[in-house]
Amino acid sequence: GYEPLLSEKNSREVDIETPLPDDLTRDSLELPDLSEPELARHYTRLSQMNYGVESGPFPLGSCTMKYNPKFTEDLAAHPSAAVHPDRPEETVQGTLALLGRTAEYLAEIGGMDDVTLQPPAGAAGEYTGVLIAKAYHEHNGDDRSEIIVPDSAHGTNFASAALAGFDVVELPSGEDGRVDLDALEEAISDETALLMLTNPNTLGLFERDIEEIAEMVHDAGGLLYYDGANLNALLGRARPGDMGFDIMHYNVHKTFATPHGGGGPGAGPVGVVEELTDFLPEPHVRKRGGGYELFEPERSIGKVHGFQGNWLVLIKTCAYIARLGDEGLRDASAKAVLNANYLAEQIDYEVPFGPFHHEFVASAGDQDAADVAKRMLDYGVHPPTTKWPEIVDEALMTEPTEIENKRTLDQLAAAFDAVADEDRETIEAAPERTSARRIDQVSAARSPQLSWQALENSE
C-alpha cells in the first residue's frame, strides 16, 4: 500500500504569460503535470487504499454510515440541477420546488413547522439553531447568556454554542446514562437560553423524561434544541416536535443516506416550531401561486452560508425520503434498532446501560479501545468509534445501521470476539493486514508536515 505523491510523479514549472501587466501576476506556477491515464491510475490506486460502506460493515457509532443509493447520485448529476444561485426565481422553479418539498418532508418527519435547508452541515445546523434561539430571546428583550449541554453530547454542541457567543453549562449525566433531572434543575437559570439534547443520546438511550425536561426548560423561559445526529433511531416512531423540542437539525448525510464523502459535504437543515419561523435564515422558500418564491423571514437571523447551502446534497436527501416513504422510514428505524440490539447480544464485550436504540456503547474492559479498533481492521471490518462517550470505560460506540443483516452482523460480532480473546501484544501491534500499518500520530502532531513542499524542505 504505497502510492507516490502527484508531485513525485511529475511536476512542471510554467512561466506565466497573460495579457495582464507583470506586476499583477506571479512569475511561474509549479504543479503536478500528469496525463489523464496517469491520473486515473493514481486516484484508482488511492481509492483502493480507502474503506467505504460498500467495502464492508461500517459500525462507526454516532455516524450512521448507511448505504448510499446510487440513483440519488444520478439525480444530483441531472443537467437541470446545474443552476446558478443568482438566477431569477422564475427561472429556477424546479430547484425551488425540490427545496420546498424537501423542507416539507423534513418538517413532517421531525414534527416541526418549518425547515431551513441552508446550513451546510450538522454543526452549521446547530449554530443556526443557536442563532435562532439567540435572536428569539433578544427579540423578547431577554438577554440570556447560557446554553446547557450534557457531558455526553457531541463536541459540536459545545463549540457551536461558543461560536455564537454563549457560555456553556455542562450537565453531568445521571447514573443511568441519561439526563439527571436534579442536575438539570441546578443548571437551569434565567440565563438559560437553550438546552441542547441528543435523543436517543450518544449511549443510544432514549431520554424517558423528555416531557418533564421540556417543561423545566420552557418554564424557565429557555428553548429546547434537538441534535439530529441520532434521528435514525426514531424515524416514524417519535418526533422531536412532539417531545417539546423547539429547534432541531437533521444530519442528512446520516439519517437520509446522502454520502459522507470522506468527511463531507453533508447538510444540516434546521426545523423550528411555528413561534420561531420568523427567525429562519434568508432566503427562505415558500409556495406562491402555482410556484415557489424566495423571501426574507421577518426577523431572519440572516445568513449561515454564502448562498443556499449544499444543494446537490439536498437533492439526494429528497430522493431518499421519496424512495422510502412512511413505510420505508419506519422500517429503517426498526431495523437499525434491531441490528444494534442483536449485535450487542452477540458480542463478548460488556455492554452497560440500556435499553438502547440504534447504537450501543460496549466497554473494552482492560483492553485499550483504540487498540481494539486497530486490531478489528485486520478482520476486514471498520471498527466502532472509540473512547467516547467517556461515561463508559474504553468505550466502543457501535452503530451498525439498518443496512447490515444477520450474516454481516455475525461476521462483525466474530471480529469483536476474536479481538476480545487476543493478548495485549497482538492488539498493540495491530493492524497488520492493512495498506498502512499503525501510524504514528504523535510525531505527526509534534512536527507537522502538511504539504509536499514541507516534505521536500524537510528532506
Partner: protein, 444 residues
C-alpha cells in the same frame, strides 16, 4: 428487491432473519425495541408515499426539468468551469464517496493522501505554508478568518474591515460569526471597482483586527493595491486576508508576496461546476497560526514499518476534543469536493490552469468589447483589468434588460438600476456572440 418486499429497500433482512434476530434479542416485535414513553410516541402517518427508484427518478427529474435552460453569464462568487468527466468517475468510486472522516488512517490512506495533495496545491497557489482540507464555502471561511484573527492578534481590537462591494450573502455570514466573537464589521469604500487605499488609511486605527480584500473583486476587477493593503494591516498589527480562487491564483500575484496572512475563497470553482452555490471553503494561512487553524489538517507521518503515511493531525484544535474551546465548530466539511478540486487541478496541470485563467481574462475582455459596441451599453464600467466578469452600464433599466434576456435564453446579473454584470469562463466563452446579439435586440 432482495430480502424483504416492503419497508426500506436498503435494509436486507428477510422476514425469517428478522424473526431470528428478534428472538435473539428477546423481544416479540420490532415495536418492543423502542423505549419511548407512550405520550411522545408517534402513531400517525407522515404522509409520504414510498416510490420505486424509477418513479423517484422520473418525478424528481421532471421537477428539476422545470428549471429554465439558460446560458448563464453569472458569477459574483459562484463560478462555472468545465469539469472533466474524469473527475466524476473517479470521485464517484464508493471508496471515496461512501467513506467517513479519516479517523482510522490505516484504512483511509487514499483519501488522506488526496487531501494532503489538495493542501499542497493550495500552498503552491497561495504561497502560504499551511492550507486546511476544507471549510464549507468562501463566506464561512471569511467568518472563520475573523474569529482566527481575534484569537491570534497580539493586541486587542475588534474592527473587521471589508470591501464595500461585498455581496450580501458573504457579509451576512460574516456578521453572524463576528457577532458571536464580539467583533464589528465595517465596509471600506471602493474606488472605480477596487479598494480606496487612501480612504482605508483614514479609516484604520489600532483597533483594526482584520483587513479583508478580494482579487478579483466581486465585480471582476483585479485588485491592484494588495501590497499597500498588506502594509496597512501590518502597520496596525492586524491580519490581512485575501479572497480569491484557485483559477485566479494560477496567474495573479502570489498572495503571500503581498503580505496576506490568510487566503480564502471558493475552491470549488475547480471540481464542481454550477451547483446553486454549493462551494468549498478554501483556507490557507501562515505557519505561525497553525495551531489556531479551523477545520481539518492532514499531515505526513510514518507507519510502524517506517513507511510514509498520512493522518489527520493537530486534532486537539477540533470540537470533538477541545469542545467549546475548539478553533471552530466544524466537523463534517466538504472533503469530497476538495477531492474533486484536486483531481480537476491535477487534470489541468500548470499549463492547463494558466490557459483557463487566460480564457477568463480574454473572454471577459471580448464580451465587454462586444457589449460596448451596442448602442445604449457601455462596458466595462471600470477601466481596469478584469477576471471573468465586469460591469456594464445600461441606458435602459438593467432589471428589465436582464429579464428580457432570460426570454432569449441568457442569464446576466442586474446589480443596480443601470448596471448589469456578466461573467465569462470556458463554459460560455463560445456563446459570447450570442449574448451580444441578444443584448443588441433587447435594447434596440
Amino acid at each position: 428487491m432482495g430480502g424483504h418486499d416492503t419497508g426500506s429497500p436498503y435494509a436486507p433482512h428477510t422476514p425469517t432473519e428478522t424473526e431470528q434476530m428478534l428472538d435473539a434479542v428477546g423481544v416479540a416485535t420490532e415495536a418492543d425495541l423502542f423505549d419511548i414513553p407512550e405520550p411522545v410516541r408517534f402513531d400517525g402517518e407522515l404522509g409520504i408515499e414510498p416510490r420505486s427508484e424509477q418513479a423517484v427518478r422520473q418525478e424528481l427529474g421532471a421537477i428539476l426539468g422545470r428549471n429554465d435552460d439558460l446560458t448563464e453569464f453569472l458569477g459574483r462568487g459562484h463560478y462555472d468551469h468545465y469539469v472533466p468527466s474524469l473527475v466524476d468517475h473517479l470521485s464517484d468510486r464508493q471508496e471515496f464517496l461512501s467513506s467517513y472522516t479519516q479517523y482510522q488512517p490505516e484504512i483511509a490512506q487514499g483519501f488522506l493522501q488526496a487531501l494532503f495533495e489538495y493542501q499542497s496545491m493550495l500552498v503552491e497557489l497561495t504561497g502560504l505554508e499551511v492550507a486546511n482540507c476544507s471549510l464549507y464555502d468562501a463566506a464561512t471561511a471569511l467568518g472563520e478568518t475573523a474569529t482566527l484573527a481575534s484569537r491570534v492578534r497580539a493586541t486587542t481590537g475588534d474592527r473587521v474591515l471589508v470591501p464595500g462591494h461585498l455581496p450580501d450573502g458573504t457579509r451576512g455570514v460574516l456578521e453572524n460569526y463576528a457577532d458571536g466573537a464580539d467583533l464589528a464589521v465595517e465596509s471600506y469604500p471602493m474606488d472605480d471597482g477596487v479598494a480606496d487605499v487612501e480612504a482605508i488609511r483614514d479609516l484604520v486605527d489600532d483597533d483594526l483586527l482584520l483587513l479583508y480584500a478580494e482579487s478579483p473583486t466581486v465585480r471582476g476587477v483585479i485588485e491592484e493595491s494588495l501590497d499597500d493593503l498588506g502594509a496597512i494591516a501590518d502597520e496596525h498589527e492586524a491580519l490581512f486576508a485575501l479572497g480569491s480562487d484557485p483559477v485566479a491564483l494560477s496567474v495573479l500575484e502570489e498572495p503571500a508576496a503581498a503580505g496576506a496572512d490568510v487566503v480564502i475563497g471558493d475552491a470549488a470553482t475547480l471540481g464542481m461546476g454550477t451547483s446553486y452555490g454549493m462551494g468549498l471553503g478554501m483556507f490557507a494561512t501562515r505557519k505561525e497560526f497553525l495551531r489556531q487553524v479551523p477545520g481539518r489538517l492532514v499531515g505526513a507521518s510514518e507507519d510502524s514499518t517506517g513507511r510514509r503515511a498520512f493522518t489527520l493531525t493537530l486534532q486537539t484544535r477540533e470540537q470533538h476534543i477541545r469542545r467549546e474551546r475548539a478553533t471552530s465548530n466544524i466537523c463534517t466539511n466538504q472533503a469530497w469536493v476538495a477531492l474533486r478540486t484536486a483531481i480537476h487541478a491535477a487534470y489541468l496541470g500548470p499549463e492547463g490552469l494558466i490557459d483557463l485563467a487566460r480564457t477568463c481574462i480574454t473572454g471577459a475582455d471580448r464580451l465587454a468589447d462586444g457589449l460596448d459596441d451596442v448602442t445604449g451599453i457601455s462596458a466595462p464600467v471600470h477601466d481596469r483589468h478584469h477576471f471573468r466578469e465586469f460591469l456594464a452600464r445600461t441606458d435602459q433599466p438593467a432589471p428589465a434588460i436582464a429579464s428580457e434576456l432570460t426570454e432569449e435564453g441568457y442569464a446576466v446579473h442586474a446589480v443596480d438600476d443601470h448596471l448589469i454584470q456578466c461573467c465569462v469562463t470556458d463554459t460560455n466563452v463560445e456563446q459570447i456572440d450570442g449574448l451580444v446579439e441578444a443584448v443588441t435586440e433587447v435594447v434596440a
